[in-house]
Amino acid sequence: MKLRRPGDVARLGLMASAAIVLFVFESLAPKPLPWMKLGLGNLPVLVSLLSFGSGPALAVSAVKLVVGGLLSGGLAGPAFVIGGGAGLASWLVMVAVRRVAGPLFSVVGLSIWGALAHQLCQLGLAYVYIGQISLFALVPLSLISALWSGGLIGLLAWWTLAQLDKIGWIDRR
């Protein structure tokens, strides 16, 4: 992990704490539909990925999962393993897409890629736990969910980055 500027550690810490707060807030907020969880906690991960690079984004994601898991009491349970695996998959896919496709995708496209990886990996890991192939009937719902949540988080990330750019907060890597 390489951070260029002296304030980067503080900025990254701010991102990590924002991720925790959003993660916990979302787990407390009422959800109209359980599958329609937005994944607000991924917003700081996405912002970190674009402003600090892949390593720091993974760090923010890991801190979010561990501290968020501790706070919501789900640490080491199935939901934690599924969420952790899905978070890792989402990070991997976003980093890979960014490296391979470069400027082909905007933040929004990148976010949809991440959400897609998250949803499908979640389903795969749930299958490992439950062991019923019939779970994959939920794939269409996952795709819709990824499109909607990934798109919205991508838009939010774009707006956040645009604001942060104005105050010289990000490095653009």
Binding site: P34, L50, S106, P140
Partner: protein, 130 residues
């Protein structure tokens, strides 16, 4: 990498973004239609509990069932509209929100309680316990 137009309220979506989103949306719609087209009214309920052999009930055998799982008892109902979960011991109650399921391939799943309810085709007898 990031196209940050000064003062713009809407991000510059690239062509790849739009194509990718369209492909995902079309994929989802296609899969839904494929599922709908292939789906027919089921006639049996298969209950798959973690660590147990599947149990089959006829959808015509109306009544309520209590199923034991790692968290406690999940209560389900078999009625004229199909099958639904009436009460569950888990936090999120995703299985309860699923509502009535009645088409072949329909699912109601409770991950925390290790339970899968699946609608299947023909069941010649009222109940088969393996």
């Amino acid at each position: 990498m990031i196209a940050l137009a000064e003062g713009a309220l809407w991000p510059a979506l690239t062509r790849a973004d739009k194509i990718f989103a369209l492909v995902v949306a079309l994929g989802a719609v296609g899969l839904v239609f494929h599922g709908r087209y292939a789906a027919e009214a089921g006639s049996a309920l298969v209950i798959e509990a973690m660590g147990a052999k599947p149990v089959t009930y006829a959808l015509s055998s109306y009544g309520r069932l209590r199923l034991a799982g790692p968290l406690g008892e999940t209560e389900i109902e078999i009625g004229p509209k199909g099958v639904r979960v009436v009460a569950a011991p888990c936090t999120h109650k995703i299985c309860m929100r699923r509502g009535w399921i009645n088409r072949r391939g329909d699912l109601a799943v409770c991950v925390p309680n290790g339970l899968v309810l699946r609608i299947a085709g023909a069941a010649p007898v009222d109940a088969v316990v393996h």
